[in-house]
């Protein structure tokens, strides 16, 4: 049986928005297709070895936890970038998304170093952007799909001109509350503010991430057998409705 190896960065520090829900979804959906998924924690002082992991996952934390891991993560920067360049999939949520950019400046004005995988910089604002959010994405040309989630961030993330967002904001704040963009994509690496958690109610993205990780392992992505996803669809519909009703409001 083919088994995917996932490197979960700092699970003891960055786990605030139910990141284990995302991991559970990846595990089950891989297993239902006959693939194993081993999750390895990558903690403080442990390097990221390019080529080793098929997927790197990093979740969100509160300011305090982010400040604790930021210097260590920056020191791993070269390994993370090299792993992504070698074709590993990356999924970064909320705080992890911020820290994989070039830099993060918190409310107190203190600047945390970033990894530089995503072409963006983040500056914390006074008011948090909190609420339900709905995106429209086109990860494969011509194939438009929606992502529904919840956002809660003080950081305003500005993509470079050349940066590719994960999606367009249909309802909610997104990266900075102004640009109409949310998240970032670089090859097989995805970063986003959406939690809720992200994957249970957006199973197509879970399958996309699994396919990217399999492509790293096998050289090409096999077709994943479709699943019923009836419950997932219901949860997505409620979440999407919430975003229309009350997303992006203060």
């Amino acid at each position: 049986m083919t088994s995917l190896l996932v490197g979960h960065l700092y699970p003891d520090y960055l786990n605030i928005y139910a990141d284990r829900g995302n991991i559970a979804v990846l595990e089950r959906r891989a297993a239902w297709r006959g693939y194993g998924l081993d999750v390895q924690a990558i903690g403080m002082g442990e390097p990221v070895e390019p080529g080793r992991h098929d997927l790197l996952y990093i979740g969100g934390g509160q300011d305090r936890e982010q400040a604790l891991v930021a210097p260590d993560l920056a020191a791993k920067g070269e390994g993370v970038r090299a792993a992504a360049e070698a074709g590993a999939a990356v999924l970064a949520v909320c705080g992890g998304y911020q820290l994989l950019g070039r830099s993060y400046r918190d409310v107190a004005g203190e600047e945390l170093p970033g990894v530089g995988l995503f072409p963006h910089e983040t500056v914390a604002g006074e008011r948090r952007m909190i609420g339900d959010v709905l995106l429209e994405c086109e990860l494969e040309p011509g194939l438009r799909r929606t992502l529904a989630g919840f956002e809660n961030h003080a950081g305003r993330t500005r993509l470079d001109q050349s940066g590719v967002p994960l999606g367009r904001v249909v309802a909610g704040f997104g990266n900075d509350g102004q640009s109409g963009f949310e998240g970032c994509r670089v090859g097989r690496a995805i970063g986003t503010y959406l939690h809720g958690p992200l994957l249970p109610r957006n199973p197509w993205l879970a399958d996309w991430v699994i396919a990217q990780a399999l492509a790293h392992r096998l050289g090409e992505a096999p077709d994943l057998e479709p699943l019923g996803d009836e419950l997932e669809g219901r949860a997505h519909a409620v979440s999407a409705r919430r975003a229309h009703e009350r997303g992006g409001r203060r």
């Binding site: 003891d12 520090y13 786990n15 605030i16 928005y17 139910a18 284990r20 829900g21 559970a24 979804v25 089950r28 509160q62 300011d63 305090r64 936890e65 604790l68 948090r128 909190i130 609420g131 339900d132 919840f150 809660n152 939690h195 809720g196 958690p197 249970p200 109610r201 419950l231 997932e232 219901r234 949860a235 409620v238 979440s239 919430r242 009350r246």
Partner: protein
């Protein structure tokens, strides 16, 4: 607003202001009460909190003045988990001897405190549970003679922002307390124990019975990194979430010596729990009619605060012995030939304790879990993924998922490996209640775990259906 009190064109000189103030307060109180009566007459509900909301809008300063009318002052209770139950326990202990103004229904924002003050009658002492975020404002206004701070867990991050923000507000509030105010702190919570600082003394309570520690800390533990230096704490015992006997290996920040301690804890399934309450003034065996380690924390907190307010150890023991469940917290309601057992869930730490207590008491085979996402529940439902539902799911034959976010809850169970075919997804609460009762044999008990607004809705449904509540049930 309330700016008119400072407007000289209205009120003239300082002398005139002094003269005018009581008259104005009387008018405001009358107006607020009238609004409450009108609301009830109109059947609009909200009649109990409306007067407070109105007074708070009209003139926040009126709350300060009303607070000063209480001859024995006020005591405040705040915590993420357990404040309603703890305050109800304190009320049970003090009630025989002291007339209380108490926001028993759990309306715990500034307006809720204002409502309780408006209805104080001839009360001598104010006993107020206070929302974590509202604590600084309430402290400023009522100038409490005692403050109990129980715990800080991640809870409704969408409403409160990050845990650290609340901790910061609490530090600020504690700094502004007059020196004579008694401070009672949970020493097992690193963030809370740290509030005493060096400047003032505090009564510190905590558990000392490692037999009841978690073998492995629960997933949702929050403050497991040193509040001073950031290194991971080493725990001699974890009792609940991140609460326990901790020590930082790097800077040696550790749990403070305990002044009020629970030892020799004996859990009695779903029926109750007993423990030795050990204090500077003696020891007393406490027999509680509500279960679980979290209720030991609540009782310990209530005992420590009551002692600080002048109660005797004997009064503490008999008050706690009389205590029964508060509003929706392990509340049993007779529904025809069956009973329902309602355990409010609202955040990972509290829900974990509800699950742990249920499973220790003999895991149920059917459960109804109700997930709403109104402001009072938390609009962000991601917290259910941080709850360790697995031990409960392991014993379930059937799960009824209900509430506005029933599908999300069903997904939580599905991705934990629970058979999707064994889940009923029924968003309307009444339908879910019927389904749950249908799955429960006559004479049996149906376990229901609702979030806050689902709990209120559920109570409305059973009362509309005219089911008799147990005689000891004191409606809020």
């Amino acid at each position: 607003m309330g700016g008119t009190a400072q407007d000289p064109s209205v009120e003239g000189s300082a002398a005139a202001r002094l003269h005018w103030r009581p008259v104005r307060l009387g008018l405001e109180i009358a107006l607020a009460h009238a609004a409450g009566r009108l609301s009830r007459l109109a059947g609009a509900g909200g009649g109990t909190t409306l007067p407070g909301k109105l007074l708070w809008k009209l003139d926040p300063g009126a709350i300060d003045l009303l607070g000063r009318r209480l001859p024995r002052g006020s005591a405040l209770v705040s915590a993420t988990n357990g404040k309603t139950t703890t305050a109800a326990m304190v009320a049970e202990i003090l009630a025989p001897r002291v007339r209380l103004a108490h926001n028993r229904s759990g309306a715990n924002l500034v307006s809720g405190v204002a409502s309780a003050l408006l209805h104080m009658g001839d009360a001598e002492l104010g006993l107020f549970e206070v929302d974590e975020g509202a604590l600084p404002e309430v402290v400023r206004r009522v100038r409490p003679r005692a403050v109990l701070l129980g715990n800080l867990f991640r809870d409704q991050l969408d409403r409160y922002g990050e845990l650290e923000l609340i901790a910061g507000r609490w530090r600020e509030a504690v700094r502004t307390l007059p020196h004579e105010t008694a401070l009672v702190l949970n020493g097992d919570d690193p963030q809370v124990g740290e509030l005493a600082g060096e400047a003032r003394t505090a009564t510190v309570f905590g558990l000392d019975d490692p037999r009841h520690a978690y073998a492995t800390p629960p997933h949702a533990a929050d403050s497991t990194h040193c509040v001073r230096c950031g290194a991971p704490y080493e725990y001699a015992a974890v009792y609940m979430g991140h609460l326990g006997d901790y020590r930082c290996p790097r800077c040696h920040h550790a749990r403070q010596p305990l002044d009020v301690v629970a030892r020799r804890i004996e859990l009695d399934g779903l029926e109750g729990v007993s423990f030795d309450l050990v204090t500077a003034v003696g020891e007393q065996r406490i027999e509680l009619g509500v279960p679980g380690l979290y209720n030991v924390y609540n009782a310990l907190a209530a005992g420590a605060l009551s002692l600080a307010l002048g109660a005797s150890l004997a009064e503490v023991a008999s008050g706690l012995g009389r205590f029964h469940a508060a509003f929706g917290r392990f509340e049993r309601i007779v529904v025809g030939e069956r009973r329902i057992l309602v355990l409010l869930i609202k955040n990972p730490a509290g829900a974990n304790e509800a699950v742990r207590t249920l499973v220790d008491g003999g895991a149920p085979r059917v459960a109804v879990i109700a997930l709403n996402d109104a402001i009072a529940d938390g609009r962000d439902v991601s917290w259910i993924w941080d709850v360790d539902f697995e031990p409960l799911l392991a014993g379930l034959e059937r799960l009824v998922a209900t509430g506005e976010r029933a599908a999300e809850l069903a997904l939580r169970a599905k991705y934990a490996g629970f058979d999707e075919q064994a889940i009923d997804v029924l968003p309307p609460l009444a339908a879910a209640l019927d389904r749950g009762l249908e799955l429960t044999p006559p004479g049996g008990e149906l376990v229901i775990l609702p979030t806050y607004t689902a709990m209120l809705a559920l109570r409305r449904i059973v009362s509309e259906r005219g089911y008799v509540r147990p005689y000891w049930e004191r409606a809020a």
